[in-house]
Symmetry: C2
Subunit: 90 residues, 2 copies
């Protein structure tokens, strides 16, 4: 049985991780990253990587799974931003 | 004394929370939200609110402070996106 505290933790993790899916889909579809902050996605991707390492160190599966998925989505968005900023010349 | 596990947890929290500052500053300065996903910021802001409630329930100050700051920044970005999508007609 999970209690109410755990439940709200799982809902929180599902929402914050899941939220990057519509952004990743939108970025892949439109390839537009003009109003996305490079600083944000750089710091955020590094932060999520740290959360993943933290989850592995304390062996917490919720933290591991949530952050592995978020890392994938955030790294995808960051790749588009880096490509548009430094490689593609419009 | 904090151990290495706790340290990486604090670094992770500082990075993921701090990452929303450059995005908020960029959004406030440019007012451009064209490539930001409304779905992402709606889900994310709700998720961070749940994390804040979770932090209060388990009385964990790191979770409370990190998510209170992130909530403020995410809600600010979401407000601009809602204004540009539903209120302002360019």
């Amino acid at each position: 049985m999970i209690n109410n505290q755990e439940l709200i933790g799982y809902v929180a993790a599902a929402l914050t991780t899941g939220s990057f899916l519509p952004q990743a889909v939108m970025t892949i579809k439109t390839k537009d990253t003009s109003s996305l902050s490079l600083g944000m996605y750089t710091l955020f991707t590094l932060g999520v990587l740290c959360w993943l390492i933290y989850g592995i160190l304390i062996f917490n599966w919720v933290i591991i799974i949530a952050n592995a998925v978020t890392l994938l989505l955030a790294a995808c968005i960051l790749s588009f931003k880096i490509y548009n900023t430094f490689i593609s010349k419009p």
